[in-house]
């Protein structure tokens, strides 16, 4: 297993520029993905924390 792990590492490191560029592409994409998913999670959290026994009386027709 370790022998194969070494082989995998050596193969990746052989074309290190390509490996690092590909990893950077994944990093940028995952950064955007994580932030955008966090926006959705933040909004869902707002609804989840709303009081189940709380009513809001507001002007009709506004929303």
């Amino acid at each position: 297993m370790i022998r194969f792990a070494r082989l995998v590492w050596r193969n990746a490191w052989r074309s290190r520029t390509r490996t690092l560029l590909t990893a950077s592409g994944v990093a940028v994409s995952l950064l955007a993905f994580t932030v955008l998913r966090a926006v959705d999670a933040g909004m869902q959290g707002l609804f989840d924390r709303a009081g189940s026994d709380t009513l809001v009386v507001f002007q009709d027709g506004r929303y």
Binding site: F4, A5, L7, V8, W9, N11, A12, S15, R18, T19, L21, T22, A23, S24, G25, V26, A27, V28, S29, L30, L31, A32, F33, T34, V35, L36, R37, A38, V39, D40, A41, G42, M43, G45, L46, F47, R49, A50, G51, S52, D53, T54, L55, V56, V57, F58, Q59, D60, G61, R62, Y63
Partner: protein, 294 residues
């Protein structure tokens, strides 16, 4: 409880400042405001004493004792008496002021924009709605009573559509990088055609070779994913952005489920991007590959 709401911007905004005028003696039935007792005493007894949500205080660098004037909100002046710790809830970005003070200083005597109603335990919450609206029928403004969640959903409907679009873009970003990984692995396989043919001649089975290539992409996905997720986590903890509309404010939140999802996506991108070119490469005829060996 009557509530006076004032906002710095009536449209959807990323820098929304929202003031809630509340009755200090009743607000704790509706909102968890864990501030020190001295801050609470000041809020209950002083006119212009404010409790400020932690995220908003961090955004503007406010500390207890600071005198603040909101130039975008009728030059409303108050003293920060307590900072409500950040907990990811609705209180993070709200300035709470005594309702009487807010009415005198800005919205007008006796005026409020909302009523918050706490239904007693065991009572029918939904059944209370028509009773309230019927009771309010004789007033100047017709009312619409909703559960708090329904009110939040209705108020943020426009922003929600935008957030849904952002989710599509998030998955598009994943799709693009999946293709980029597949392309990088395909180029690598082309370069290693001869090498793979030699390994197969030496007896390395196809599944092992495909596994080695996929493991390489798995590592790249894991490395890139960890860097991207780490960067996002750093950005989100630094950020004090308040996305909101009409006094309903929220901010992006990275929960552990979000981290796990993002890491799983990163690994899946590596594996899914590598598998097709890897399988194609290991199924090429050996002779064709050996022709490329010098």
């Amino acid at each position: 409880m009557p509530v006076g709401v004032m906002v710095s911007d009536c449209r959807a905004s990323l820098d929304l400042v929202t003031v809630h005028g509340v009755e200090p003696e009743r607000v704790r039935a509706f909102r968890d405001l864990p501030v020190p007792p001295e801050a609470w005493r000041a809020f209950a007894s002083e006119d212009a004493a404010a409790l400020v949500g932690g995220t908003l205080a961090r955004r503007y660098g406010w500390q207890p004792g600071d005198q603040v004037t909101l130039t975008r909100l009728s030059n409303l002046s108050f003293t920060v008496r307590g900072i409500v710790p950040e907990g990811g809830g609705v209180t993070d970005q709200i300035i709470y002021l005594p309702l009487r003070f807010l009415q005198t200083a800005a919205v007008g005597q006796g005026i409020c924009n909302q009523l918050w109603v706490k239904v007693k335990p065991g009572r029918d919450t939904a059944g209370t709605v028509p009773i309230i609206d019927a009771a309010m029928r004789g007033h100047a403004v017709k009312t619409h009573t909703r559960l708090e969640e329904g009110f939040l959903r209705d108020t943020t409907a426009d922003v929600r559509r935008l957030v849904e679009l952002l989710q599509v873009l998030a998955w598009v970003a994943v799709g693009v990088v999946l293709l980029a990984v597949a392309n990088a692995i395909a180029i690598t396989m082309r370069e290693r055609t001869g090498e793979l043919a030699v390994m197969r001649t030496l007896g390395y089975p196809r599944p092992l070779l495909a596994g080695l290539i996929t493991a390489e992409a798995f590592g790249v996905g894991l490395l890139g994913g960890a860097a991207g997720i780490g960067g996002a986590a750093w950005l989100l903890t630094q950020g004090t952005v308040g996305i909101g509309i009409e006094g309903v404010v929220f901010r992006p939140q990275l929960a552990s489920a979000g981290l796990v999802e993002a890491l799983a996506v990163a690994v899946a991108v590596g594996v899914a991007g590598a598998l097709p070119p890897a399988l194609f490469a290991v199924h090429r005829p050996i002779v064709e590959g050996l022709r490329r060996v010098d």
